[in-house]
Symmetry: D2
Subunit: 292 residues, 4 copies
């Protein structure tokens, strides 16, 4: 089918390639003239598509997505469909859908997982929106997803796609931290000759076999003992949002929270919390403190 794509960065660009490869007619737009864009403005993008249009947004969450939705609300016609494939928070989806609905424009959110591997292996897609809109863009989703039976779900109404993507990423945080803790324990022990080989052996038959484990072996093959990688990991919004929601739903999330805190902690050079602890130890016990 014919579809517009806004945002031709790493994710959007790869998706365009996969879609074209699957026989779709994609018109791409990006702010950057060097992006290989097909048209040089949103207006031109809209003009290049026929109603009812389908336009997939693949730009950073927050301001860039907000602004794109605002502009499309003005440019599109009733019956057109906007799909947000980025990392928008699901509550924002609900706001965007309401805004577009006032112009008769449809909206879907599609959480997308698979990273740099998606172009060749396909993307796991989690869609939120009406059944009608889901069927409308299904040809596109079927091309983007992996080739097997899984990899695509219509999770629920608008917002559900990014909600379950948020949950997916929260689980991902916990799994990564679990692997990290286990690997660190092997590396710290004198008993284990080669932690990499242990991880490699777990790829069959073990309970922890998983894609993340495969990637860990791959990372260790790229950089033995990970000696060139600093022990600092960034966090994106999803785990944070999930914890916020869990707080309000009364679902305790100790592992997700511990995973997030570990990342936040890794970003702090001189945490104030530990200054206080060190200062208190010094006060009551005369224990020496390190100078800052």
């Amino acid at each position: 089918m014919k579809i517009g794509m806004i945002g031709l960065g790493r994710m959007g660009g790869n998706m365009v390639a996969r879609l074209k490869n699957g026989g779709h007619d994609v018109v791409g737009f990006d702010m950057s003239p060097d992006s290989g864009r097909d048209v040089d403005s949103l207006e031109a993008l809209v003009a290049a598509l026929e109603a009812p249009r389908a336009i997939w947004i693949m730009v950073p969450a927050g301001k860039p997505t907000d602004s794109t939705v605002d502009q499309l609300a003005q440019l599109l016609e009733p019956g057109d469909l906007v799909i947000d494939g980025g990392n928008t928070r699901y509550r924002e989806d609900q706001r965007h859908a309401k805004e577009l609905e006032q112009h008769g424009i449809h909206f879907m959110d599609v959480g997308t997982s698979g990273g740099v591997w998606g172009r060749t292996e396909g993307y796991a897609l989690m869609a939120g929106g009406s059944a009608e809109d889901y069927e409308h863009i299904r040809p596109v989703l079927e091309t983007l997803k992996p080739q097997g039976d899984s990899g695509l779900v219509h999770a629920g109404p608008v917002g559900a796609g990014h909600y379950v993507k948020m949950i997916h990423n929260g689980i991902e945080y916990g799994m990564m931290q679990a692997l990290g803790e286990g690997y660190a324990m092997m590396e710290a022990s004198e008993l284990v000759d080669n932690p990499r080989d242990v991880c490699d052996s777990w790829r069959e038959g073990s309970v922890v076999r998983s894609w993340l484990l495969d990637l860990l072996v791959r990372a260790l093959d790229d950089d033995k003992d990970l000696e060139h990688i600093a022990g600092r990991a960034q966090e994106t919004g999803e785990a944070k949002w999930m914890i916020e929601d869990g707080l309000n739903l009364g679902v305790p999330l100790p592992v997700t929270a511990a995973s997030l805190f570990a990342r936040q902690n890794s970003q702090l050079d001189d945490p104030m919390t530990m200054k206080v602890v060190a200062a208190l130890r010094n006060q009551f016990g005369g224990h020496a403190v390190d100078k800052a």
Copy 2:
């Protein structure tokens, strides 16, 4: 090769079946007359094998394993090999090895993962011991492991097998808790139509694809919404031991610990810690308490 197997329960029995199927000559012993045992005493087991003997112990960790090792120390000859395939703590392995060494008997520990699936899919095996002993029982290990390239590792000297099995299980705890937290969040949200279908979709293309995810979908197909399963999970020793070791190695394990605490907590009907918190709230704020 010819090998003795002590313990013909769920794990030991399945391993015997897989070994026999692979052409090995297995002599089985178990305390229970109804176990399908080949011999009815340890003495008879030893007599049925020729030196240098290889005997695989597959009985519960702790007293049963200790007692079996003690008896084998008396019954076996120098050059024989004892393999502990159970869930013994690695420090106990080191003690067992020392005890047997005084009689010239060799020892290996082989951590075994795969549960009820191992008989058909093969077991992930993590071996600790000397290179010589490892080569000696390699035919047996090759039969027990899955058919692919992975699933078997010689992790290091005596103790290393159970050490990395302990780590494996700690990672398993974290992964399971991460999946549990994520599933609970989908189930608690009104946005998600069918959490089971979301999990199923993640089996391809997603970052969290894993055997545990496959099993979660299977469990949900067996019992929709898990309504017949109580929210209580037991803990076995491994995560606990891993945390103890982490404490002493200075490797913080927040996710492993949170996963263990969640299980311990699920076993408590009326936790004293929370009685204290409730009592304090009542004292300072006059907040009502639930009656015990």
Copy 3:
């Protein structure tokens, strides 16, 4: 000074008593006719005070406080002052202040700690607002606070009072949970003859001496071993809000979060997270599950 008090429940009623005892002229209003109110409507309350009026709101956070502020915005005159002494979230304070400012009405938020003890011992007060407004109601604050040098702070602009009260309560959560964990460990050990006496002994000379420890001894004297108190503790909003803010500020709060999760967990009869963990153990290991 003359002041109006809206809300004559446990907190508001006690504060009126302390204020009258301190020589202030308090006009009290409450929705309930049985509250001992001085006037029977907000209009009458406003009429009973002279401009520039000071009115202290002591009603539940959320809708009741919102509605009271809305009504006062209509009834009061420019130059009047509204003080929210309840448990409002600081962001709502900022919204309330903005709303009132449009009518020229001043606003302060005063976080209040001390619970049922405040009437006799005084309340710890944390004020947010302008220096001018703080000086204006200082006589009232000086009467409400304890008699020593501490117990009152002008924490910052509007919102700062409830912000630091939120932090206070978060710290309170951590301290209570720490005491609970310690007490539970003494109760679980056969070595400790009488945990209550240990706590009592810590009230002097120890590092953990604190008001909460005093209250714990008091609770244990009321109900030996806390046998009549269920191990379930409710959470109010503050720790939750603090964690939300911490997530966004990048300040890891593992202890505050663990304390909140422990309370949320104590409210769950059959946690879905642990159903998943139990189901997974059953799937891979054939481990029995408890029936729900």
Copy 4:
């Protein structure tokens, strides 16, 4: 009464001063000639006391204490009493008691809290041992403790003193971390004018009033914003031991564990766990990593 003191460091030296001030006859020994010792060998110490002797050991836990107990076992007479006032793990106490009992020598363990403040304010003392031995050294304990009604407990048999001291320190960890998290949140917010003043105000009327809060204000007065103190805090053994025991008793200790992990984490420059997390993010998402 007459008593021997082994170890005249910061703790032992201050205790001798407090005891002498209280009218006791103390014979002090230390390995170091510059310690102000009264005698220059254990033999001389034993010779300077009359049977039944009471000797208080105040040396580092582990080897120094072990070695001292071993030597005293050879030097003392049946009926003499050894008191370990250090930070020995309670299981070691039980071993020491058994060793001494073979020579008819009595043993007590006395957990001691109060740090550098103990000399003037008194020490919180938690004793383990027989009722008879407790009464025997009670005059010494009464002098060392603070002057009020609290500060001393006979917690149970041998080991109980150090067990409850271990719990005390675990609670201390949680309280310190709770204060640290709260302070960090005030410091990170633009709303709070002066976090130090807020803490100072909490010293009366608030729920969190405590000695640790007093010390925090003192620390902030010594070093505004703690700018000269690094955010790194050491751990001593107690919280670690408490968590180990909690694991085995089935008492979940999320706050104690989180507090310990925070300290361990503060000691790590380049945590392997976070290298793994960063490496995995790079593998699946192409996210940049920091170079180590």
